[in-house]
């Protein structure tokens, strides 16, 4: 699982923000996880505390904000909500679609002092 290295990337970003935005402690991290990002929210939560220990984000609360997947069908041109990559277009049954939303993993906000 790569959630450990993702948590390390999260910490690097937070440390960069701490320098840029002049804060010394993070209280809350708001993390958006796209439904199709391949990232397991539970595994992130599991690694988070251990990776943040001893940093500006030690004891920070992690708030995971799930993001639904959104796809656009190239056959019937409809947008639809998508749970899995193997889903079909609910309107025409096609597998020819583009994923428009829900592939990302993003720090949306930080609550800091």
């Amino acid at each position: 699982m790569h959630e450990l290295s993702l948590c390390e990337n999260i910490l690097q970003m937070i440390e960069q923000q701490a320098k840029d935005q002049q804060f010394t402690r993070v209280l809350t991290v708001f993390l958006e996880i796209g439904q199709l990002s391949g990232v397991e929210p539970e595994a992130i939560s599991f690694c988070f505390d251990a990776v943040m220990a001893g940093s500006v984000a030690a004891h920070a609360k992690l708030v995971i904000v799930p993001q639904v997947g959104l796809a656009w069908c190239a056959k019937c041109y409809h947008h639809f909500e998508i749970q899995h990559r193997y889903d079909e277009c609910p309107i025409c049954g096609s597998y020819e679609f583009q994923i428009k939303k829900g592939e990302h993993l993003r720090i949306s906000e930080l609550e800091v002092i």
Binding site: S5, M13, Q17, G54, Y86
Partner: protein
Amino acid sequence: MCGICGCGESQLTAHTHAHTHTHEHEHVEHSATVRRIKVEQDIFAKNNQYAQLNREYFRQHGIFALNFVSSPGSGKTSLLTATITQLPADCAISVIEGDQQTTLDAEKIRATGVRALQINTGKGCHLDAHSIAHALQDQIPEPNSLVLIENVGNLVCPAAFDLGEAYKVVVLSVTEGEDKPLKYPDMFHAAELMILNKIDLLPYLDFDVEKCIDYARRINPRIKVLQLSVKTGQGMTEWLQWLTISQRLSSIA
């Protein structure tokens, strides 16, 4: 220190923090100093930046790079050694091998006479673009050459990490079962080509080739599929054609 990024060490060595968990809940004074910052930064952004740099490097030097991904033991190294020995001798190739431990695969590649660099990821379950940037410094590929990257055997994590390659090639051996594209969709979604390997074993299995291809196309309607046996050599001609033509096309684009 690293010339590319100024880092002191590989990112992949997971630091294990001395973890003294004193769970006394500190009560934060909700004074005016508490503020909210909008960040809106993607976690994969950093890897993607390195990947973009690698891609630009490949483009400038006319290098065609492929990223081979699969679960452990599908036949990536076997395919690479067979490919190297069957390509024309004037074709410049170098290989980057990713494994958690050992230099066994790099040694197998070197036995063919081609340069190979082994990256050991330790606990890391995938290669990332940063480690590839280092590898390209340590083993500088020839201009207009082929760079073959064998990722860590893992059908999950390497899907999310762009290395700057032209294409991901996913190798699925028929002993793994035809349902893998549905169970591990991200990898098949990210790949340009699926190689169904070990087809010499089909007579001994209930593997449904058509179903497998259908599943893969559900995830990725544009995926190309080649059926191959490294052991018997069946399908190798088509594979070498795909490789040669794709390399040519990328030099035009």
